[in-house]
């Protein structure tokens, strides 16, 4: 069983486009939407929810009526999450990391770590395969933990059936949710674009994948909008022994098809469709070989 995570560093390079078209072409597979605070795969895959579970996130400190305002908690909080005035103690939920130091040092047991429901995750059926996806409550933290839940659920299914491939659509950026989506996978596909911003972010996400020892491939989307930058990406890859598994042409039909919730590969005359198919064919050996 192989797992591949599709990442980008920079947002909007085409991860979900590539992921969804791979999902359509694959067999004996499961799909995972690991972009939990802005999930988009369901828009294309029309999942029917089979199972739903609550996501109980990491703990947050909560002050109760026993508080004597000694300020010991504020003194020791490393995350600037506690503000202390002569009348009360306030916890900034956003900054609190649930480390438990305040709970430990409070002399009267006035601070307690509490876990709360911060979202939901779903196992669903789609036309092509099972999809595990999630919804993080707006503004909630612990997106990395939710990605872990979703990944565990997908692996449980994969190991119980004869699944050969898990396709994971990752989040933009290089932080917790991305790292959680890379945990233990066989391959990372970095979808990048030939823009200065794209190149800058590509190098960062490449470093992360390399740091976690994951075999990495690169696909350059809309490569022909800036041939010079495309060459720069290709040179960087050559220098660092990263396989450029393919390049996808800029195709003005693509945004229109996407907006109509269509799959690019269903339009074989589209240059982008040909390119995506070629990339998939190159991957098949790695996935099923």
């Amino acid at each position: 069983m192989k797992q591949i995570t599709i990442i980008s560093g920079k947002g909007g390079t085409g991860k979900t486009t590539i992921a969804s078209n791979f999902i359509k072409m694959a067999h004996d597979h499961i799909a995972v939407d690991a972009d939990v605070d802005a999930a988009n795969l369901h828009i294309l895959l029309n999942p029917i929810i089979e199972k739903q579970e609550d996501f109980i996130g990491g703990a947050i400190a909560v002050v109760n009526e026993n508080c004597i305002n000694c300020g010991k908690c504020e003194e020791l909080c490393r995350f600037d999450a506690i503000s202390y005035s002569s009348t009360d103690i306030r916890i900034d939920n956003l900054k609190c990391e649930g480390c438990g130091v305040c709970e430990y040092v409070c002399p009267v047991g006035a601070i307690v770590l509490k876990k709360e429901k911060q979202g939901q995750f779903y196992t669903s059926n789609t036309e092509f395969c099972k999809l595990v996806h999630a919804r993080l409550n707006p503004g909630a933290e612990n997106s990395g933990l939710l990605v872990t839940r979703v990944r565990n659920a997908a692996e449980d299914i994969a190991y119980s059936q004869d699944t050969k491939l898990v396709i994971i659509d990752g989040a933009p950026g290089i932080g917790c949710p991305v790292i959680a989506s890379l945990n233990g996978v066989d391959y990372a596909l970095i979808v990048t674009e030939p823009t200065l911003s794209g190149i800058s972010d590509f190098k960062k996400i490449y470093y992360v994948a390399k740091f976690f020892n994951i075999k990495t491939f690169v696909c350059i989307n809309k490569f022909d909008i800036n041939p010079k930058n495309t060459v720069e990406i290709e040179s960087f890859c050559a220098l660092n022994n990263i396989e450029v598994i393919g390049k996808v042409s800029y195709d003005e039909n693509v945004p229109k098809l996407l907006a109509q919730k269509k799959f690019i590969i269903d339009y074989p005359d589209s240059p982008a469709a040909k390119d995506i198919r070629k990339i998939w064919e190159r991957f098949e050996g790695y996935f099923y070989g």
């Binding site: 990395g144 933990l145 990605v147 872990t148 839940r149 565990n152 692996e155 449980d156 190991y159 119980s160 917790c176 790292i179 959680a180 890379l182 945990n183 233990g184 996978v185 066989d186 740091f211 976690f212 020892n213 994951i214």
Partner: protein, 124 residues
């Protein structure tokens, strides 16, 4: 003497789960009394270091060996420090894996068999 098997379910008829840190259940089987208990693996919900935490939980159970599919370097390090033998590449039904162990058909693993890096890599 007790051994631990990573399992997809809570019974001896469940399948062996190939993951150490992120399996859903651990089966702790007592060879002497031919009895077993199951533990739900709480470590699997951790974003990182699942193998580390699971290793400590199992070490506290005083088992002599763990049977699983794969051990990442972090789980390996913890179990090795606790002098617990590891057997990787084990699959099939838990009951049958136990029989294979009793019959000496399993080969001990001398090193982690999957990659990792600081508790975040493959199968940690």
């Amino acid at each position: 003497m007790k051994i631990c098997i990573t399992s997809t379910g809570s019974s001896l008829d469940s399948n062996v789960d190939p993951r150490f840190g992120r399996c859903p259940y651990f089966i702790i089987y007592d060879i002497g009394s031919d009895t077993f208990e199951f533990i739900e693996n709480g470590s699997r919900q951790s974003m990182g270091g699942a193998g580390i935490q699971a290793g400590q939980v199992i070490a506290a159970k005083e088992v002599s060996a763990v049977l699983s599919g794969n051990f990442g370097p972090n789980a390996f390090r913890v179990l090795q420090a606790a002098n617990i033998k590891m057997y990787s590449g084990v699959s099939g039904i838990v009951r049958e894996a136990i029989e294979k162990y009793k019959n000496g058909q399993l080969v001990e693993t001398s090193s982690a068999n999957v990659e990792s890096h600081y508790g975040m890599g493959k199968n940690s």
